[in-house]
């Protein structure tokens, strides 16, 4: 068999598993829950817009400030984390708990293909649930008669999309690995997301580079952001270095997850 044929077959298998996983993960209560959270975030955008439009408080703020606050706290440090944690830890764990992993493992496909297909589904779902929330928030906050600022900040929106996409890739790979490896993947994921990242990202020097959030924050584009964000962004890593690190980290985590899936014995409870 030619290498091209193998690649085509491999991609077909990845796609099949991705669609299978997408169907299982998307149509579940998790998605309703995530949509509820997204609605809340949109609600905050609407509130910010109303306050700006009707001057409900004395100290005005700009659309950029509200959007930056939403992006930094609600989207990157919450929505992305939760969505990737929710779905990432479920990729393998739900197959094990549901005892359906057997069907995938007793097929003539390499186990890393299974991991790749599931990861692809994870990225699709996370992008589908998160990116529209960001776009809608942006539109709610920025649309007005004078569209000049809208177009100016559209570039920043594009960068935000890119950052969120990189965050989904990296966190998705991490929680996919945790889900493939550990039995209590949720607790481990929560400890990492809100324990390790919450503490270590505030530590000085090299230690903060041991978190994904550091690299995300290093490429965060909002300069005129709220004080909370300014406090969070201490010493930044160079933007290009951050992007490359995130991509390499994603590949490393994905490879490790594939290796674990390949070598680990999953005992399905009878």
């Amino acid at each position: 068999m030619s290498a091209g044929h193998n690649l085509a077959d491999g991609w077909r298998n990845v796609r099949t598993i991705a669609f299978l996983t997408l169907d299982t993960l998307f149509w579940s209560k998790k998605t309703i829950f995530v949509m509820l959270i997204s609605l809340f975030i949109l609600g905050l955008s609407i509130l910010g817009r109303l306050i700006m439009s009707y001057h409900w408080i004395r100290a005005p703020f700009t659309s950029a400030q509200v959007f930056a606050a939403l992006m930094s706290t609600a989207v990157i440090h919450f929505l992305v984390l939760f969505v990737t944690l929710f779905y990432g830890t479920a990729l393998v764990s739900e197959e094990v708990e549901g005892k359906t992993l057997t069907y995938l493992f007793v097929r003539p496909i390499p186990k890393p293909t299974v991991m790749l297909g599931k990861y692809l589904a994870l990225i699709w779902i996370c992008c589908l649930l998160v990116l529209p929330t960001i776009l809608l928030s942006y539109l709610i906050l920025y649309i007005r008669r004078d569209m000049s600022q809208f177009l100016e900040d559209f570039r920043v929106l594009g960068i935000d999309f890119g950052i969120v996409f990189l965050a989904i890739l990296a966190y998705g790979a991490l929680f996919g690995l945790i889900g493939a490896w550990l039995k209590h993947s949720v607790l481990a994921g929560l400890v990492y997301a809100f324990g390790w990242e919450g503490i270590v990202s505030y530590l000085p020097g090299f230690t903060r580079k041991l978190t994904i959030t550091h690299y995300i924050q290093s490429i965060f584009p909002h300069e005129d952001s709220a004080s909370a964000i300014a406090m969070l962004i201490g010493q930044r890593t160079d933007a290009l270095e951050s992007v490359v690190t995130l991509v390499l980290l994603t590949l490393f985590l994905l490879a490790t997850a594939s290796l674990i899936l390949r070598e680990k014995e999953y005992i399905l409870e009878q």
């Binding site: 669609f19 057997t102 097929r107 390499p110 999953y266």
Partner: protein
């Protein structure tokens, strides 16, 4: 006969628990029954057969190749797991197509094979129904369907008759025998002797992770028959029943229960005894209240074999 599945000194343990303990076997084409009580190690052995588990010691080979992480082998293997687990949101057709497409078939062939296997297992009407809405029997049939849709050379069936109604059970037994005649290697596991007996005469008898007996089912059954069965019967007139039973040569002894309402019969041929009992009860107008066989079980056989 060429060996299809071969195990040498195979052991598998989980922590302190030994599930499969130093067994060796050779399974050829045809139907082989894997028999044993719950906890004997049958499911673990089946998982070793299908590469879901790695041997702790020894080796296991399929067509001369090691199984663990050898995914190309699974073109030739079909597995029907014991657990009732599915992608519930999928329809039967989607489920079969998705799994078939992982075997590298072209889309047209996937469609053709899906159609064929739905028809074979009488699931055509239910093809567009979600598996979550399937009855227990339908679920078992779709499980069997996915195992053989790609026409494997080796079929590993873990408790395939569980949950099936009598008609479907009969059809499945016939199908398994047909596969064996076609030259496939079919390994069927069950803890019910007569189910296995209906499908094959070659069995592997397991207990506590070890193979206690291997060979023709009649030879093993004879071993059971050499050890007389005790059958406890409670009826309206035990003494009259006893009077009728002692005339039969397979009945070795009759003991009456202290309460006077029951008796225990020792018989060398329990099958004949059970066949004859309903007619006896009817002919002599006796009411049967309770019938049990305290030692008509594999445990007794194993005890006998291990002693």
């Amino acid at each position: 006969m060429t060996s299809v599945l071969e195990g040498k000194g195979l052991s598998k343990w989980y922590g302190q628990v030994i599930a499969v303990n130093n067994i060796s076997f050779n399974i050829s084409a045809g139907v082989t029954g894997l028999l044993g009580p719950n906890g004997a190690g049958k499911s673990t052995l089946m998982k070793l057969f299908t590469g879901q588990l790695r041997p702790s010691q020894g080796e296991i080979r399929l067509f001369g190749e090691k199984i663990w992480n050898n995914y190309p082998l699974f073109h030739r293997v079909g597995f029907c797991p014991e657990q009732d687990a599915f992608y519930e949101r999928m329809t039967g057709e989607q489920f079969l197509s998705a799994l078939l497409s992982m075997h590298g078939f072209a889309e047209s062939e996937v469609a053709a094979r899906t159609e064929a296997v739905l028809e074979k297992f009488n699931l055509v009407d239910a093809r567009n129904k979600k598996i979550a809405a399937y009855s227990k029997g339908m679920r078992q049939r779709i499980k069997m369907a996915q195992a053989m849709a790609h026409d494997p050379d080796v079929l590993v069936l873990d408790e395939p008759l569980a949950g099936m109604d009598p008609v479907v059970r009969r059809d499945t037994i016939r199908q398994v025998r047909a596969w064996g005649r076609e030259g496939k290697c079919v390994i069927v596991s069950s803890h019910i002797l007569h189910e296995i007996e209906a499908m094959t005469s070659t069995i592997l008898l397991m207990h506590n992770g070890q193979v206690l007996a291997e060979g023709d089912v009649h030879q093993i059954r004879d071993l059971i028959d050499r050890h007389p069965h005790n059958i406890f019967i409670r009826c309206s007139d035990p003494r009259r029943l006893a009077e009728k039973l002692v005339g039969y040569p397979d009945v070795l002894s009759v003991r009456f229960h202290p309460d006077g309402g029951a008796l225990t019969v020792e018989s060398r041929k329990p099958d004949e005894f059970y066949d004859r009992l309903p007619d006896l009860m009817l002919q002599h107008d006796l009411n049967l209240e309770e019938i049990t066989s305290p030692d008509d079980n594999l445990q007794a056989v194993f005890h006998y074999l291990v002693k």
